[in-house]
């Protein structure tokens, strides 16, 4: 038995792959930035050591976090893309993908950041109060930076999981990397070659992203 792999046809469609990589990276950047903002807001609402929050707010945030963390990303994506138009809210595939990633990372990062916030020594918050910092200032300048610093490695892993999860967005025809692989495979009939190449690119992307984010964490979170 002889297995013949022929990458020439697949490699010839490199512009598609490049476009796919650009989309994957773009979606990841949007998802990460907005997802972290959303996650921070939710962590602020759920943290048990930052004073009392109104019960409806805590309840709403808790349900959002648990609903997202206990359902598959692909179902969240399909719900946004196929389900919402029934309510008259039609989203483009690209927008639905980005939105799903933001919502997904928002829920996971909320729990990660909350763990960091709740690990803040109480004396720090009391010291900030005694310096007459407002609650907002305390959160932004005293609580959040060390909290992010503590949980950054877990955060990086989660960001990479979300980036890899974006492969599903090709299923609603967002032109990201896995969509490119699908397209090349149906153009060239070289399915295995197309997917192994895309997989290798994903592996490189995730390794590079981990390095970059760890460096950014050391530079901007610790080195402040």
């Amino acid at each position: 038995m002889l297995i013949q792999l022929d990458f020439s046809a697949v490699l010839a469609s490199w512009p598609l792959l490049v476009r796919g990589v650009v989309w994957t990276i773009g979606l990841t950047i949007v998802g990460t930035v907005l997802g972290l903002l959303l996650g921070t807001a939710c962590a602020w609402a759920r943290a048990r050591n930052l004073g009392h929050r109104p019960a409806p707010l805590r309840w709403a945030v808790a349900s959002y976090v648990e609903l997202v963390r206990n359902t598959p990303f692909i179902v969240q994506l399909f719900f946004l893309f196929f389900g919402l138009p029934a309510l008259g809210l039609k989203l483009s595939p690209e927008f639905a993908s980005a939105l799903a990633m933001v919502i997904n990372l928002g829920a996971y990062s909320a729990e990660i950041i909350r763990a960091g916030i709740e690990a803040t020594p109480r004396g720090q918050i009391e010291a900030a109060h005694s310096l007459a910092l407002t609650p907002g200032q305390t959160f932004r300048r005293v609580v959040l930076p060390p909290a992010l610093q503590k949980v950054w490695p877990a955060m990086v892993s989660q960001i990479i999981i979300v980036m890899l999860g974006s492969a599903v967005c090709g299923q609603i025809s967002t032109p990201e990397l896995s969509y490119a692989a699908n397209l090349i495979s149906s153009n060239t009939f070289r399915a295995f070659e197309a997917f192994i190449l895309a997989t290798a690119v994903y592996l490189l992307l995730s390794m590079a992203t981990r390095r970059l984010l760890m460096w950014m964490g050391a530079r901007f979170l610790v080195g402040r």
């Binding site: 038995m1 297995i3 648990e66 609903l67 963390r69 206990n70 359902t71 598959p72 990303f73 692909i74 179902v75 969240q76 399909f78 719900f79 196929f82 389900g83 919402l84 138009p85 029934a86 309510l87 990479i160 890899l164 999860g165 974006s166 492969a167 599903v168 299923q171 896995s178 692989a181 399915a191 295995f192 997917f195 192994i196 895309a198 997989t199 994903y202 592996l203 995730s206 390794m207």
Partner: protein, 217 residues
């Protein structure tokens, strides 16, 4: 167009959810067995094996599960073996699970103090005995909560098998939504069913974790 009442939708989804559960269990048990073998191989300190297992873990954790499913689907066929979405999904999810579990368990074994290994050695236990009687029983206690937690990831991971055409909960959802033109209702039901499967498992994992830490205090 077929008339579907909400009851019909739920009944059909529940039937399909059986396959989600079956696939999850196969992946979890199969992945656990493969993961355990990889763990032992890694701990045995045979030259090169540790590195090979590390690379295996990195490949499976650094690539999308969706790509792994496609590769299993087209890769098995490449060897001239007739494959079905069912086998491809079972193989890919088992390997994926094994990579994560072996990494989780490695962390648990690493948290066992070195003195335990040395004490076992000084009692003239061989490698298998050290593992079986001294290290693994202690590591197991720490390993249970994260392992149960990972089961949630496996259940959610099976949703991707729908993409290669395996009819489980998500695929059944798309099929029903195409037949009923009620995507909002159908996908909401699908999401709630996943939630009903995963949330209890999450709660168990959380409470196990709390108990473990209570013991330590």
């Amino acid at each position: 167009m077929v008339e579907f009442s909400i009851w019909d939708i739920l009944r059909n989804l529940l039937m399909a959810a059986r396959w989600t559960v079956t696939l999850s269990l196969i992946a979890f048990i199969g992945g656990g067995l493969v993961g355990l073998m990889l763990l032992v191989a890694r701990l045995s300190k045979v030259r090169g094996v540790e590195r090979a297992v590390g690379a295996y873990v990195q490949v499976f954790q650094g690539t999308p599960l969706l790509m792994q499913l496609f590769l299993a689907y087209f890769g098995i066929a490449l060897f001239g073996i007739k494959t079905s979405p069912w086998t491809a999904a079972a193989v890919a999810l088992t390997l994926y699970t094994s990579a994560y579990l072996t990494e989780i368990w490695r962390g648990c074994v690493a948290s066992i103090p070195k003195g335990q290994w040395e004490a076992a050695q000084s009692l003239a236990l061989n490698f298998a005995e050290q593992l079986r009687h001294v290290v693994l029983p202690q590591a197991l206690r720490i390993a249970v909560p994260p392992t149960v937690g990972f089961l949630v990831q496996v259940i959610k991971g099976t949703a991707l098998a729908s993409v290669i055409g395996f009819v489980e909960l998500t695929k059944a959802g798309s099929m029903i939504s195409n037949a009923t033109f009620q995507p909002f209702l159908v996908y909401a039901c699908v999401a709630l069913l996943y939630f009903a499967l995963c949330f209890p498992v999450s709660l168990v994992a959380q409470s196990l974790e709390r108990k473990l830490h209570a013991n330590r205090r």
